[in-house]
């Protein structure tokens, strides 16, 4: 029973364009959402997060949007750069439980 879903296993975009990665969740108890970036043979690196009391959080080229009614969040990367090529994991936390539930990841490839 996947509580966090990333339905696109891969995404390819041109350098300079926008990358949009999507994530859906089913558990209403989730109140904190995170995006991690992962390179091969490395651990996940924290990218950006958003609390359930907000609908948008921005950090440089990265913006996360949260639609609570749709149980959907997305990560926008503008402009995309070749160095952004990695696997992106969406994760959700129930603050009372303190254990992340991860999606299956989306492999982003940014073409020069």
């Amino acid at each position: 029973d996947q509580q966090v879903k990333q339905n696109s296993p891969s995404l390819s975009v041109q350098e300079g364009r926008i990358s949009i990665l999507n994530c859906d969740y089913t558990n209403s108890m989730f109140d904190y959402f995170l995006w991690y970036k992962k390179y091969p043979a490395e651990g996940p690196t924290f990218l950006i997060s958003i609390s359930s009391i907000k609908d948008k959080n921005e950090d440089g080229r990265f913006t996360v949007f949260l639609n609570k009614s749709a149980k959907h969040l997305s990560l926008h990367i503008v402009p995309s750069q070749p160095g952004d090529s990695a696997v992106y994991f969406c994760a959700a936390d129930d603050t009372g439980r303190r254990a992340l539930t991860f999606g299956s990841g989306t492999r982003l490839q940014v073409q020069p």
Partner: protein, 115 residues
Amino acid sequence: DTAVSQTPKYLVTQMGNDKSIKCEQNLGHDTMYWYKQDSKKFLKIMFSYNNKELIINETVPNRFSPKSPDKAHLNLHINSLELGDSAVYFCASSQQKTTTQETQYFGPGTRLLVL
């Protein structure tokens, strides 16, 4: 100045053996975690410890025993290794605060292969 470190990075061993993976964090965090990334690439929580006390144990076989000698270390000992234990194991840590949401920071992973 590594924040969360794990040793070893790679571990190849025979079925039935006992092995340990070590994790250390120098972030001053109170909570540490073990996650397993299986062949389908899902990262799943195994254990969490807060100040050396077990908080979460996610239906993990008894062959897996975490040990926390102090709040900066959380080691994972695995008895009687099975083929299905082959995976990448990630350690993570976060600052424990009761009223705020905390980000977890991950180590580089330990790639375990059981032959």
